[in-house]
Amino acid sequence: MKGLEGLARSAKEKLGLDYLEIRLEETVSHHLSFRGPELEEASHQIDRGGCVRALRGSGWGFSSFNRWEELERRISEAAELARVADRGERVILAPVQPVVDEVPAEVGEDPAGVPLEEKKDILSAYNEIILGFGRGVATSLIRYFDRRTKLTFASSEGSLIVQERVDLGGAITAVAAREGTVRQVSVPFGSGRDFSVVRGLKEEVQQACATASSLLAAPPAPGGEMPVVLDPILSGVFVHEAFGHLSEADGMHENPELEKTMRLGRVLGPPFLHIFDSGVEKGARGYLAYDDEGVRTEKTYLIREGRIVGRLHSRETAGKMGERPTGNARALSYRHPPIVRMRNTGIEPGEASLEDLLAEIEEGLYCAGFYGGETMGEMFTFTPQVAYRIRKGRIEEPVREATLSGNVFHTLAAIEAIGREVARRDDGGGCGKGGQAPLPVSHWCPPIRIARCLVGGRR
């Protein structure tokens, strides 16, 4: 697609725009799913499309399409839509150096090199473990996908970047059922590089079966405020919901009140708390060399020594706030314009072992795995897959799932201890925002202890 940046530049001049970018995308993906003994779905997808984003004054016009031969018409359409949306204060994009680059996919074991039959056989072996487990484990759910994407980005400023990306993920779920009670426990997997994460999960699948079985008789969780220890997986969802979303500058670049509340330098956590969001860890699903505005990614610190030190930017939010773009403008696909999103969000490891984290707790909850989480304003939720009572520093019986909830102004300050083991591990889910889900993200985190966290329970 040589010359695409020239087309973008001449269209920008001819149509009287401030900026114009073109993205073209080709993705080939495979999906496999089991429910119970049967392979329910084996599918293959070929997705090819593109989009044009045009800026004029205050307005963004965007046009996405499947037929590349329509490109010129779609450029005019995006320009026309930008005119409709141009009704206010001019958007200033933070300056970046134009880049011409090619970024090939860096793969370990390439999923494209593994025949579909072999993928099916690997998953079938896990399925047989679940179906043969007994003890109330009744059925299974297994989901797997992989995709390879070629992205071309060209801007009227002269950038032309071609990137190849590999993404894969899924989950192996054991379902236990008895007398109308259904419990499930999953082993998630995901990678931005390597099919081998799908291999070698046998023991974890057995463990998931045992856990699902033990949950059949589990009582509801206790409700109220209590100390909680989060395993590295849930700790990742916690940091994503507790602080990641509030660091996205598109929530504050035009909201002076929020900018004041979340001002740089404000202390929100203990001095040993450091939170970052990074695009540079190869192999993570949140890894990307350039974001979807052609900005080189980096490791961005959001909190250092408990203080707010940074935020996540697109070129527009950085331009408005007089800061530097961080490479966080991401689009789910060519069907969407880029918006400010996280990449790999984490907490820097501390010193504590798991025993240290549990040791001082008289009564509390140990929470592991995740179902999901959400943020609204200063409040957020994160839901573990399994929770166990902690008594006198020991993990005891499981309780049913319950949503944990926090408030950024209390909960970060209540982090008492941070573990030393970071789980460099991804799942097959993703983040949702502005109708763009699931976007691949990572959370490479250590376990943490929170002195007081609100647990929704029925007792």
Partner: protein, 442 residues
């Protein structure tokens, strides 16, 4: 031109498989979006693509593409994948449904101009902007037209046009460390009176912000809770999962053996209607060519039917219900159409006025997360108002609701409002539940 591609694919597969099916989708949408009180983005999205299912040796292969130039390659791929899958039990239809069904397409939606959409959005945002000078209003106006072709080698040929018009709006208010966010929106297949409805929606959101501005202390406990239609949708999720023919077939549904039995309060009647005039999920036939229809799922608390695609209906020996829904990239599977929850006698104002002490929950956050088949629903009360003596006292914060939806609809349901609202493709009333556990930071 697209249709010719579909026929070429079918021809290519004829004689090489027991049956083949082509689903073709052409969609044009135009959403306009407001951020920080201002129109910010105007987007056009054009999608065209096809999906193929091939039945060979009693097994189905699936391949989809948006690259019509590679349609024949996709057909070969689908044929190849069929050998991997397990046995498929559905029987694809031979005859197209009667062309009389209506209420899916409104030409006024298709001809709506971006200029009129921009003006409609301004009407929506105006009441929200006026609540408080620091409110950040956001919103959107969207129109969409889609054309669907479904052809199979058994002779079925179906085609329809469907339109969709949507409005959404919200506001965020930050006052120091106190943040408030309110949101509402809907979509449907006809245009109606967009400016008038935009103003009504804007005023509704403005009212939510107004009522939520004052916080009151709250210690939690068990009490009566009146859920807005939007919050109620979270409680309905486990029921919808339990009614899914796929979950029944696979033994996941806690209701799998309870057909004809009472599973909920006799006040609860839930209907799935694929033909509801201009309902957001209405269409003449489903993703497999089965005519859309109206099915009673729960009849005064009695489990009357599940919803199915062809495969689940056949493998359970039940009647197909026209619920095999699909996206371009996902094969048909059971999904609800327009879900209609019957209302009660009193309106929501009267239900609220009857509360001596309780909460009105407008919005729940995070309550979608969890295993739906367990029924456990737990979420942060992101917008909840404390009620005493039938009057709103103020907003409660840092509070989590936890309930088991199956138990709640059986034992705790105390009333449903006569007024209903669309939440996605569900038409829901306000619902009053008794002794609901609420944990609060205090």
């Amino acid at each position: 031109m697209s249709r010719e591609v579909a026929e070429r694919c079918l021809d290519r597969l004829r004689g090489r498989a027991e049956a083949a099916e082509v689903f073709l989708l052409v969609r044009e949408s135009l959403p306009l979006e407001w951020e920080a009180g201002k129109l910010k983005k105007a987007r056009s999205e054009a999608t065209s693509g096809l999906a193929l299912r091939v039945l060979k040796g009693g097994r189905v292969g699936f391949c989809a593409t948006t690259d019509l130039g590679r349609a024949e390659e996709a057909a070969e791929k689908a044929l190849e994948l069929a050998s991997l899958s397990d046995l498929y039990r559905g029987e694809w239809p031979e005859q197209a449904p009667s062309p009389e069904a209506q209420g899916f397409y409104d030409p006024e939606v298709a001809s709506l101009t971006p200029q009129r959409m921009a003006d409609t959005g301004e009407e929506l945002l105006e009441p929200i902007r006026r609540v408080h000078p620091k409110v950040q209003a956001f919103g959107g106006v969207a129109r969409e037209v889609e054309e669907v072709w479904l052809l199979n080698s058994r002779g079925f040929e179906g085609h329809y046009l469907a339109s969709s018009f949507g409005l959404w709006g919200g506001g965020e208010l930050v006052e120091g460390d106190n943040m408030l966010s309110a949101y509402d929106g809907w979509e449907r297949r006809n245009l109606g009176d967009p400016e008038g409805e935009a103003r009504r929606l804007g005023k509704k959101v403005a009212g939510m912000i107004e009522r939520g501005r004052t916080n009151v202390p709250f210690r939690g406990g068990k009490m009566k809770v009146l859920l807005s239609p939007r919050a109620l949708a979270h409680l309905l999720r486990p029921l919808v999962a339990a009614l899914d023919g796929k979950a029944v077939e696979k033994g996941l549904s806690p209701w799998k053996d309870l057909l004809g039995k009472k599973v909920a309060s006799s006040g609860l009647t839930l209907i799935d209607d694929g033909l509801y005039p201009f309902g957001p999920a209405s269409s003449p036939f489903d993703g497999e060519g089965i005519p859309s229809r109206r099915n009673v799922l729960l009849d005064r608390g009695v489990l009357a039917s599940f919803y199915h695609d062809l495969h689940t209906a056949r493998s359970l020996g039940m009647e197909p219900t026209g619920n095999g829904l699909r996206g371009l990239f996902s094969p048909p599977r059971p999904a609800p159409r327009n879900l209609l929850l019957e209302g009660g006698e009193k309106n929501s104002k009267a239900l609220l006025a009857s509360l001596e002490e309780g909460l009105l929950i407008e919005q729940l956050m995070g309550a979608w997360a969890g295993n739906p088949y367990s029924g456990e629903v737990s979420g942060n009360v992101s917008l909840g108002l404390y009620i005493r003596g039938g009057e709103i006292q103020g907003r409660v914060k840092n509070t989590v609701l936890s309930i088991n939806a199956f138990e709640a609809f059986r034992e705790q349901l105390a009333g449903l409002s006569s007024d209903r609202e669309w939440v996605g493709s569900s038409l829901l009333p306000y619902a009053l539940f008794e002794s609901v556990p609420l944990s609060a930071r205090g």
